[in-house]
Subunit: 325 residues, 2 copies
């Protein structure tokens, strides 16, 4: 083993960028030797983690997420903070890369020495991508970043996964009207702790105001996620930039509302959710990895879909096979 | 075995009420002999099932769900339909019973010979209650009911479970304003295929109109669940009764929009979802039933919550124990 590998934890904790990149490469690797090394590293650095504020971000297509993250990141480093930007995108391809965490879309931030941008781990099951991102959060925190932004593009259940691994979740919305109205993906509205209506400038300003009012009304109809916290709808122009400061003010107000006890409880929930999420993934993986079971599952799924076999019987048959194995 | 048990399938298929009650009791029983008999019964009657329209119903507290179901059920039997009302309420207690499917709240309907009301299976894990309800849907369909209403009270994930087992999901909302505004439980809005604002009469009429407009605006912001189907928001007075007919018209329009192919596809999805839901429940059950594993899980959960052990390592340890067992 080289000297580099031996002192990787130390160099990571010292904030060495190359050590951080190496650590994340280890985390993302599927080779068993690398996985073992990553686990050892994480156990070593664990006491140095947990001190950052973790913010999840999702946005409807065309909402200007990258522009917002750049403006937000620049603002935060201006306050003296150290900002890491990660991404969860199960649809990213190894060759093409993900459109998230694309440094060409966040040029200034990618050159900012107090910021660190990492594209999504390349394609794989959401479970694997989410696990690697959670571990990467630990790595960037150990390297001294105090603000972690995790963006997601909205494929499958990626928002829920990101909401589970962060302290608060922000939804970025483009002003509505005309052909651009994509609509918020079902299930996302109630994950939001902060809603941002972006592009609130120039010709779009009236539309932005209307969208903000509509979103406020919709949120008002829903039971609160955290007692005492009313989800704010903020009109922002990431391009100008204007309104960025109020987003950070809202984040701080959210932290103050939850208080240290509330935040600590949320973190414990996050950690437990991670453990059980990995357990479920592991169980289902062991289940479908078995060739006999996955073959039987195909046949049984067909019988169930065509009404030949009641679903609970099909489930019983599969579970019986699993127990014999 | 008595003659009754031998011909239970035949009597059920003939629409015999006592046979139906006996079948459901078998389904709800946890005794292994009863479970085996229930499974045999379900396999026998399966070809006679699937012909009803299955409608899920949830409502904010005070929305008047029972009054609505009674009015709706009476209207539907007036059309010549045969209506079964089931309930999913994991919080119901054996002695107290559930407030759902409470015949005293639906007096007329409980005396209606073309209707059948069954309270929720008594308390237990949601998974068990949901499975028993799904099987009960099959039993009432075999007995000739062509309309199945499944109501839920909103505990935990019961709405999602009910949405997974029905063809369409209706949300009943009370007019907003003042202290009564409970708010729609997060995650429910996007399950809805039809939204009903109840109590749209008398003094509450203006409030009902405003709530309907707010809900419409909120739904408009969200991506459609089914292409081509705009979720209607209907103002109804279950007490009058007024507006009930438009609810059934909306149900029929929904069926027409999906078309036979769309409905068949939805049913196949329901059946597959049931199978995998049972598989997941079975896996997690086998997992937590093991005393060694459940003891280790408690300790590991604590270490994970206090930041002593990274969650993925804790998950690995549990999975290793499981594989040895």
């Amino acid at each position: 083993m080289t000297r580099q590998a031996h002192d990787l934890p130390e160099r990571l904790l010292a904030g060495d960028r190359r050590a951080l990149a190496k650590a994340i490469t280890l985390i993302e690797s599927t080779r068993p030797a690398d996985r073992a090394a990553a686990e050892a590293l994480l156990t070593t650095i664990l006491p140095a983690t947990g001190k950052a504020i973790r913010i999840g971000l999702s946005g409807t297509p065309g909402a200007g997420k990258s522009t917002f993250i750049e403006a937000f990141g620049q603002y935060l480093t201006g306050l003296g903070r150290r900002v890491a930007v990660l991404a969860v995108d199960p649809s990213s391809r190894r060759s093409g890369g993900s459109i998230l965490g694309d440094k060409t879309r966040m040029e200034q931030l990618s050159r900012n020495p107090a910021a660190f941008i990492r594209p999504s781990p390349s394609s794989g099951e959401l479970g694997g991508v989410a696990r690697r991102t959670r571990e990467t959060i630990l790595a960037v925190e150990a390297a001294g970043f105090d603000t972690v932004l995790v963006e997601t593009v909205g494929v499958g259940q990626s928002e829920t996964a990101v909401a589970d691994m962060t302290d608060l979740f922000a939804l970025i919305h483009a002003p509505g009207g005309g052909d651009e109205l994509q609509g918020v993906k079902r299930g996302i509205m109630e994950l939001a702790d902060i809603v941002i209506v972006n592009k609130a400038d120039g010709d779009l300003l009236p539309a932005a105001r209307r969208s903000a009012a509509d979103l406020q009304a919709a949120l008002h109809l829903m039971r609160p996620k955290h007692p005492g916290w009313t989800v704010p709808v903020l009109q922002v122009s990431a391009l100008a930039p204007r309104g960025i400061e109020q987003v950070w003010t809202a984040v701080e107000a959210f932290q103050a509302t939850l208080g240290p006890a509330g935040l600590a409880a949320a973190r414990r929930d996050q950690a437990r959710a991670w453990m059980w999420s990995d357990v479920r993934d592991g169980l289902l993986q062991a289940f479908s990895d078995d060739p006999e079971i996955s073959k039987a599952a195909q046949t049984l799924e067909r019988d169930v879909a065509t009404g030949k076999l009641p679903p609970p019987q099909a489930a019983q048959q599969l579970l019986r096979l699993f127990r014999k194995a």
